[in-house]
């Protein structure tokens, strides 16, 4: 790759604009190479080459370009693309957004230096994810099942309790019948100090800290730095999962902040913008993150991803949730309307989806009636919700008796099935049984989505 290891120093910065810096008269600079920068006051920063011609390099500066000038800013080209030194000892430690320890502990002595961009997993090497993860949340386990190696984001709105849900999942997630716990990697991008404290307190309280690795880029840290944060986290995850054989759960929050940073760089480079000002390559860029979840045929470990993103204006068609949904294997959508009713967790099951559900459930994995119950709950709740809109216009009396049952069902579903407390850890069997007890509200002839034999077996009998 880069045989030219002699380092090259230049003080020929010709332009500084936004997060970018242009250096002239350079030689032998590689695309994407990492650059060490020294500000006029002697402060050290780092950057990365975004574009290079024979003698000019465009560099994005991770820690911000304030105080940089064209006179006496020093740049040193390292000849290396961005790397992270990984080791088992990273567990239980806290790093900043670009992988430097910030918990006062010792430097990490790396076992391996890995390129943070990774390489694409060969589709022929993948193993299809199909091991059920029980999160203890009914709306997820029962209707949007998560499996090992899946990427399943939470689409939320500002002020909704996505953080509570994330920590609850991190705490409760387990694979039925297996006793290896998840190693959790937590990557924060642009979250507030308060949010960060919330997460850390919860991890401490539940003793999760020793299986936890944290990469923390806060709201007041440089925005550009957070371009690297998820890549640092996922490179570490790959090492844990595929070298050390661990089951890894990666929580990435908040992907919206990551995308804003991408947009900022793109704007500074005066690129032709795609939809709503976000760069045209944002899909590819996000795929480079999300596709790093998965399992490999013949290897023990797995990477399960749970990215969290706040939808600007609660708009699911906004490019950030939209492109994410096009890449991930489903989404858990939180709803302001449901939250306003005081329901926790305010999961709206209708737009939520787990695409890997069908492989992860059923007789040998959860229970034979699982898919039928889930389908039936979905269609009944969807119908109940539609009728609610109708009632708002024509009044409840105008409904048939059948329709009124569906209304009643929708209400009970929200009160009992969706609603659970922040430390309530339901088993999948409790969840399914709860589902049956709600289906009891409907006329039996309406239960078209479940097989007759399961109705016989599981529907509570009149007594």
């Amino acid at each position: 790759m880069n045989t030219n290891i002699k380092t090259r120093e230049y003080t020929t910065v010709s332009e500084v604009s936004g997060p970018l810096m242009v250096v002239e008269g350079v030689e032998g600079v590689g695309y994407n190479e990492i650059v060490d920068i020294e500000t006029p006051t002697g402060e050290k920063r780092s950057g990365q080459v975004l574009e290079v011609t024979k003698d000019v390099a465009v560099i994005q500066v991770f820690e911000g370009t304030n105080d940089l000038n064209t006179k006496d800013t020093k740049t040193r080209f390292t000849g290396q693309t961005a790397k992270i030194g990984v080791s088992r000892d990273m567990m239980g430690r806290i790093f900043n957004g670009i992988g430097k320890p910030i918990d006062g502990g010792p430097e990490i002595i790396p076992d391996e230096e890995l390129d943070i961009n990774g390489a694409p997993m060969n589709p022929a090497s993948r193993e299809f994810p199909e091991e059920f993860i029980q999160t203890g949340i009914s709306t997820i386990d029962g209707m949007n099942t998560l499996v090992r190696g899946q990427k399943l984001p939470i689409f939320s709105g500002s002020g909704l309790p996505h953080n509570d849900l994330a920590v609850q999942i991190a705490r409760q997630a387990k694979v039925l019948g297996a006793d290896d716990e998840f190693a959790v990697i937590f990557a924060a991008m642009g979250i507030t100090n308060e949010e960060a404290n919330f997460f850390m307190r919860d991890f401490e309280r539940t003793g999760a800290l020793e299986k936890l690795t944290v990469f923390m880029n806060l709201a007041d840290d440089p925005a550009i730095e957070r371009i690297l944060t998820p890549k640092m986290a996922l490179t570490t995850a790959e090492y844990y999962a595929f070298t050390l054989g661990m089951q890894v759960l990666v929580i990435l929050t908040d992907m919206t902040n990551y995308c804003e940073a991408l947009r900022e760089i793109s704007a500074a480079r005066e690129e032709v913008p795609g939809r709503r000002g976000y760069p045209g390559y944002m899909y590819t860029d996000l795929a480079g993150i999300y596709e790093r979840a998965g399992r490999i045929d013949g290897k023990e470990g797995s990477i399960t991803q749970m990215p969290i993103l706040v939808m600007p204006q609660d708009d699911i068609t906004h490019p950030i949730p939209d492109l994410t949904g096009y890449i991930t294997e489903g989404q858990i959508v939180l709803s302001r309307e449901i939250s306003r009713k005081g329901i926790y967790p305010p999961v709206d099951v209708l737009p939520s989806l787990s695409r890997l559900m069908s492989g992860g459930i059923g007789g040998d994995k959860t229970r034979d009636d699982h898919s039928g119950v889930s389908d039936q709950l979905y269609s009944a709740y969807a119908e109940g919700r539609e009728l609610r809109d109708l009632v708002a216009v024509v009044g409840e009396e105008a409904l048939t008796e059948r329709d009124q049952k569906f209304l009643e069902f929708a209400q009970a579903f929200e009160d009992q099935f969706i609603t659970q407390s922040k430390d309530e850890d339901r088993t999948i069997f409790e969840t399914l049984d709860l589902g049956w007890s709600l289906l009891k509200i409907l006329p039996k002839a309406e239960l078209k989505r479940v097989k007759e034999e399961f109705i016989e077996q599981y529907l509570p009998k009149d007594d």
Binding site: V52, N122, R275, Y283, A287, D322, L356
Partner: protein, 565 residues
């Protein structure tokens, strides 16, 4: 003379090199010390702009660019079937053997195994005078595919030598035609379509076993269909269903900028599923092209061409090929990304001005044709392209330009998907312009009144949407009982006919005959309930009849093929 230039600029997947005078447009080149694969996409003076099919991190100005003298081509011959390739036809299983579970850069592997011996059975004899496309011999490539070794498109003449039946690898001479030695392996540049004699009108449906498609919005063999829909609406499931159950001889499945796990799913599932027609494993008639979203974007741009060229090659052998491209939007975005790096003048939403023409050129390679050769055969390529409109908004350029070309439109709808109405094909928006031309096939093979039955069901569904508007104002009870009977019937059409669960062992495939009889049964219910209402029977009693519940279970109660109804 080998042309060799030097890199002067690198920006993502696009590099610029000078010293390239004499190089050709679309020529394949090797870039840098690692000899990454690239293609020349612009020439000006002695500088060439090159799109690189692999990750370019670490490449430096000054590194060498070598021309190869040929255009980006695919290798065609025995060994292609059942393979999984990346966007530039590198076999991913071999790459795995070479570089492990993550794809390294600069790997040089053969597309088709050059050592493997295939049993070649000659068909032509010495002294035969053959045209391009004529069959020299046959190789049983997989249980499902008899691979015809053809005289390559540029050649014709007398056969002066033909190999005896025996085992040969793809590079050994198996014949001499018109003075030229011929091997089993052919090469073909991906951006050029392979020749055929003429296009024929598509009038045979591609039977997919999917009720909404076959009965209402059928695509003909040789036709092109577009499936636009927001994320999670069922594009991939639909394409996989078609790849599994469509009555094509060969399936080419292109995962273009989509998920790795979806490819794995096909790879793990298809070997264990049997073709309903032949009983052979589906994998034996399937070729996969996997250039997932995290693989290099320039190779994503190439992957649809690689796929359709392979499809054309099997079509030339006389087969009906079905090609799935999931998703053409990712392909268009790859074009946009490269165009952006070239600083071309952007068109609508940043897409290059040539977006429409590239889409049209691609879909034009579909069709029912008379193949070349002395004895022309009829063969076809049907193309089904998924479209992923941002925010589900169908007014965006890729959807609009695709709809201008495709005669079949399956509109997937998010609100149906949210209700778990699958496939979420919106029956009011979708259309097929082939219904008239394939009507004859149904009349002949299924039932004389197929068209009338289908049309009656469709008009009931249209009536339903008008009635729904009234219900929204006054509630269902205020409707006349005959209209309520209509609504009960359309509910059955929606829930029992249009919905079809891809994951149900039985319902995943529904034979044309069963489709027709299900529809007939529901319409009979309609006729009888109207008659009963007119005799004064209350609608509530009719709705409560057990027969209605029974009809609801036809989907899975009757086997896939069974014609009892």
């Amino acid at each position: 003379m080998i042309i060799e230039g030097k890199i002067i600029k690198i920006a993502g997947p696009v590099i610029i090199a000078d010293g390239m005078r004499g190089a050709q447009m679309l020529e394949m080149v090797r870039v840098g010390d690692e000899k990454l694969i690239g293609e020349i996409i612009e020439l000006e003076g002695d500088t060439a702009t090159i799109q690189v099919y692999e990750e370019t991190a670490g490449i430096q100005p000054g590194e060498v660019v070598e021309c190869t003298g040929g255009a980006l081509s695919v290798e065609l011959g025995p060994g292609v079937m059942s393979s999984i390739f990346d966007g530039i036809q590198r076999p991913l299983r071999i790459i795995r053997e070479e570089s492990g579970d993550f794809i390294a850069r600069g790997i040089d592997v053969d597309s088709v195994n050059k050592e493997k011996k295939w049993t070649f059975k000659p068909v032509a004899k010495v002294g035969d005078v053959l045209k391009a496309g004529d069959v020299l011999g046959e190789v049983q490539e997989t249980t499902a595919v008899l691979h015809k070794i053809m005289v390559p498109p540029h050649l014709e003449g007398e056969v002066t030598e033909i190999a005896a039946e025996g085992d040969y690898n793809v590079l050994e001479d198996i014949a001499e035609v018109g003075g030229e030695k011929v091997q089993m392996l052919q090469k073909w540049p991906v951006k050029r379509s392979r020749p055929y004699v003429r296009k024929l009108d598509p009038d045979v449906p591609l039977v997919t076993g999917q009720r909404a498609q076959d009965t209402f919005f059928s695509v003909a063999k040789g036709g092109a269909a577009a499936i636009p829909g927001p994320f999670g609406s069922g594009k991939t499931v639909t394409q996989q269903q078609l790849a599994k159950w469509a009555d094509a001889d060969i399936v080419v499945y292109i995962g273009c900028g989509e998920r790795g796990n979806e490819m794995t799913e096909v790879l793990t599932e298809f070997p264990f599923l049997d073709d309903p027609k032949t009983g052979n494993p589906l994998m034996d008639r399937t070729v996969l092209i996997a250039n997932t979203s995290n693989m290099p974007v320039a190779a994503r741009e190439a992957c649809v061409y690689t796929g359709i060229t392979i499809a054309e090659y099997y079509r030339d052998q006389g087969y009906d090929v079905a090609l799935m491209a999931d998703s053409t939007s990712r392909w268009a975005e790859a074009m946009r990304e490269i165009s952006g790096r070239l600083e071309e003048m952007p068109g609508e939403e940043g897409y290059p001005a040539y977006l429409a023409s590239r889409l049209a050129q691609f879909y034009e390679r579909a069709g029912r044709v008379e193949t070349i050769g002395s004895e022309p055969h009829v063969a076809s390529i049907s193309v089904v392209g998924a479209v992923s409109p941002p925010g589900g908004d169908l007014s965006e350029p890729v959807t609009q330009n695709t709809l201008r070309i495709c005669k079949v439109f399956w509109a997937l709808d998010a609100s149906l998907a949210d209700k778990r109405h699958f496939p979420s094909i919106d029956w009011l928006q979708s259309y097929s312009l082939y219904v008239d031309s394939i009507e004859g096939w149904w009349a002949e093979n299924v039932a004389a009144d197929w068209r009338a039955t289908r049309d009656q069901a469709m008009s009931l569904l249209q009536k339903e949407s008008e009635l729904q508007e009234i219900v929204q104002l006054v509630g269902p009870d205020a409707l006349p009982e005959t209209d309520q009977a209509t609504l009960e019937t359309t509910r059955m059409l929606r829930e029992d006919f249009l919905q079809q669960n891809a994951f149900d062992d039985v319902d995943t495939y529904c034979a044309p005959d069963k489709q027709y009889k299900m529809l007939k049964t529901i319409l009979l219910f309609y006729k009888e309930s109207l008659a009963a209402v007119n005799r004064g029977a209350p609608i509530a009693n009719i709705v409560a009849l057990p027969v209605k519940e029974e009809i609801g279970k036809i989907q899975s109660a009757i086997t896939k093929q069974c014609s009892e109804a």
